[in-house]
């Protein structure tokens, strides 16, 4: 039954890929179609209000500056609200303002689509902040990611000269994708018992006569965009493990599909843009193969349980239940963990810190690779980067100029890609080393021995991958952690986005090379294998030593 549940959810995803991918294509193709008619009532007033009268294409530099400055403006706004939330309305629980470094961390965290949380929603945020900072950023950061991915796709596939207009893409992403979907999913979640209210914390007397106070709030509206936008920041401290955020198996399935579907549909959208659907499926297949292997690893490890606990005198046949909820059990927890780290969402329905050592390799590795489905657009961009690298490696091996989608890959593109590929591990390994070497870093560790190393490694991996899940035992609300992870999230988000946009623009300027019999095909099974191989080899070369120091060493001590 466990495997069947997972298979059914994956099958539903497969069914969604084509219609959703086609819809996204129509939204962003800029060719007239039905979606224009449906949404013009909402878009026209927005264009009027923002002064977007003519929406000409942008150069990659203007596109990049536009989204970066827009994000900066929103970060400044979010920071300000968090700092003064105590004095603002919609604060029925009388929550105080947030401290400087924590506000800095939180504003960056949500704008970069990371949603690393060094606060607990119940005690750290007013309802106004949950709405106007957290939900607002969940929409805007997701739309930013999607827009940049679409611009990149246009660049490497279009024959024209423009990658699109950021503002127009941004408006369309909100009005045609995120707002309507988020509203529908929020209503379905409420029907399935997720609360949505502005009432303050409830107070009641339990059956045994004890006072119980229950934090509540506008949860469903946050929950839907949290997953659709692959954001991942919970309304409550324990995120989707909280029964109000995720009350049953059905909401769990909906949340999994919400965070997965857009990322999984994008390769298909890419195939449509490239006028080669097979090319899209090749990328999708590579992602799915990696996904299934890591899912199997986590499910097997968690079902077998914690060897140290299994030796005790009890019935531990359920597997590793510490940190998990009974309504989800191992299968729904395992699938959630794998999807949330593949799709760089970072919401959790079980505590990753309490996972078995081998099982926790899954979330770690998926964030280290950072290209298996991925968050709004970023995963696809990263996978395309590996695809170009794979073409380059294969080209070198047979002594031919590498080409991708009819364009020559040359020194300039490869240098840029090298920068993007190296930034990610640099942002993980260097801060991890610094944190482990200083008391400011090691003081936060709460679990002994090798697991402590994993706690630190996980925190920076999650920040660099803009995932946001954590080994939440880490006492990370200190100036050191707030500032260091804040900077890592910023660099992790924007460096690769800007660099890849430049790669796209550079490819776009080149003429097309006619396809010949000697052209290395990138739309067949062989390329799936080469792509998966490239991803795994680069990932293993970079990260295997740290994984050996953390989870593998821990496993050897308790097996």
């Amino acid at each position: 039954m466990g495997i069947l549940q997972m298979v059914v959810i994956i099958l539903i995803l497969l069914v969604l890929v084509k219609p959703l991918g086609t819809y996204l294509y129509h939204v962003f193709s800029n060719e007239g179609n039905r979606t224009d008619k449906w949404f013009s009532f909402a878009e026209r007033p927005i264009y009027w209000l923002t002064g977007l009268r003519e929406r000409k294409g942008m150069t990659w530099k203007v596109y990049a500056l536009s989204f970066i400055i827009t994000n900066l403006v929103l970060v400044a706004f979010g920071y300000l609200i968090l700092r003064i939330q105590q004095y603002l309305p919609l604060n029925p629980n009388g929550i105080g303002s947030m401290e400087e470094t924590l506000s800095f961390n939180t504003a960056i965290s949500f704008m970069t689509n990371t949603n690393l949380q060094h606060y607990s929603g119940e005690t750290g945020l007013s309802y106004l902040s949950q709405m106007i900072v957290i939900m607002m950023m969940m929409f805007t950061s997701a739309a930013t990611g999607l827009c940049v991915a679409i611009a990149f796709i246009r660049a490497i596939t279009s024959r024209g000269t423009t990658i699109g207009n950021f503002f127009e893409d941004f408006v369309k992403a909100q009005i045609r994708v995120f707002l309507p979907l988020a509203f529908i999913v929020a209503m379905v979640l409420v029907a399935l018992q997720v609360p949505q209210t502005l009432e303050p914390t409830l107070s009641l007397t339990t059956l045994e006569g004890v006072q119980q106070r229950i934090a509540i709030g506008p949860v469903a509206s946050l929950e839907s965009i949290k997953h659709l936008g692959t954001n991942g920041g919970g309304f409550f401290g324990v995120n989707s493990a909280h029964p109000f955020e995720n009350p049953n198996g059905l909401t769990n399935a909906i949340e999994i599909l919400s965070m997965w579907c857009i990322g999984a549909a994008l390769p298909y959208t890419f195939g449509l843009f490239a006028k080669n659907r097979k090319q899209g499926w090749v990328i999708f297949a590579a992602m799915m193969m990696l996904f299934l292997s890591f899912l199997a690893l986590n499910y097997a490890a968690e079902s077998q349980g914690n060897p140290a606990m299994n030796r005790l005198d009890m019935d531990s046949s359920q597997g590793n239940m510490e940190g998990k909820e009974v309504r989800f059990g191992i299968p729904q927890s395992s699938l959630f963990t794998t999807v949330t780290t593949a799709a760089t969402t970072g919401s959790v329905n079980n505590m990753h810190d309490t996972g078995t050592p081998l099982g926790s390799i899954t979330p770690l590795a998926l964030m280290m690779l950072n290209n298996v489905f991925g968050g709004k657009g970023v995963g696809l961009m990263n996978m395309m980067m590996y695809a170009i690298l794979a073409v380059f490696l294969a080209g070198l091996m047979v002594g031919r100029t590498p080409e991708f989608l009819g364009r020559k890959i040359e020194a300039r593109e490869m240098k840029l890609i090298a920068i993007a590929i190296l930034t990610h591990p640099l942002m993980i390994l260097v801060p991890t080393a610094i944190a482990l070497a200083t008391s400011a870093g090691t003081d936060a560790i709460t679990n002994p021995s090798f697991h402590g190393i994993t706690q630190v490694l996980y925190e920076f991996t999650s920040s660099a991958a803009n995932n946001g899940s954590g080994f939440e035992g880490l006492s990370d609300n200190t100036a050191f952690w707030n500032v260091s992870t804040g900077l890592v999230m910023l660099l992790g988000r924007y460096v690769s986005m800007v660099v890849l946009l430049e790669v796209g623009a550079s490819l776009m300027r080149k003429g097309r090379v006619p396809e010949t019999i000697g052209t290395f095909r990138t739309d067949n099974g062989l390329f799936v294998g080469i792509l998966v191989g490239t991803v795994l080899i680069i990932g293993a070369l970079t990260f295997l030593p740290t994984v050996a120091l953390g989870p593998i060493a821990e496993h050897l001590t308790i097996r």
Partner: protein, 202 residues
């Protein structure tokens, strides 16, 4: 404050005015209108679910939320899972014990010893792991059906209700997988104890 960052003619320029106006529009749309419309629609159409699925007793007094677990210490009641926060639902969380953390092993060993003391009729090797592990949220309202069954001999002895009657009660409050497929079979401890309380004080 429009200035050009692009050398080419015919392509759009960087515009601070558009950036600021766009930011304001979406702060209002996504941060105010969207959550308020959701709240209004939810409260209007589904007030019970939207307000936290509260459970009331016969006198109409709220005794809890069916989604949020409660702490049960009286051995006459069914007990829920371990909660390091004692089911204090103004917050949420757990100790986040690593699998190699000896504190967790100690806590579990203590739980097993207590079980042996309080449930002499049910050997420890029939004690399901979910009952003595900390849930992720610290608020888990459920236990597995096996964990409910394992407590029946103790409760039967203390309340005088027959094991068969208690077994039927536990079966009545066992919820299956959603749509017969998603999630795990489970028993809502608070609902079960409310029903048990009714049997004891009719």
């Amino acid at each position: 404050m429009n200035h050009s960052a692009s050398g080419e003619t015919g392509s759009a320029r960087l515009s601070m005015s558009i950036i600021l106006r766009l930011s304001v529009v979406f702060i209002v749309l996504c941060g105010v209108i969207y959550p308020l419309v959701c709240t209004g629609a939810a409260q209007l159409l589904m007030p019970t679910q939207a307000s936290g699925s509260l459970l009331k007793d016969d006198r109409g007094i709220t005794v809890g939320s069916e989604l949020i677990g409660q702490k049960f210490t009286d051995p006459k009641y069914f007990h829920g899972r371990v909660s390091s926060i004692d089911y204090k639902a103004e917050a949420s969380g757990s100790n986040n014990y690593a699998p190699s953390n000896t504190d967790m092993l100690l806590r579990t060993q203590v739980s097993i010893e207590e079980w042996k003391k309080n449930n002499p009729d049910v050997p420890a090797n029939r004690l399901p792991i979910d009952l003595i592990t900390n849930s992720g949220s610290g608020l888990d309202p459920h236990i597995t059906p096996a964990s409910a069954k394992a407590q029946i001999p103790r409760i039967s002895k203390l309340t005088g209700l027959s094991q068969a009657e208690l077994g039927k009660l536990a079966d009545d409050y066992t919820e299956g997988r959603d749509w017969g497929l998603f999630g795990e079979p489970r028993v809502n401890v608070l609902k079960l104890n409310l029903a048990l309380q009714k049997r004891l004080n009719p």
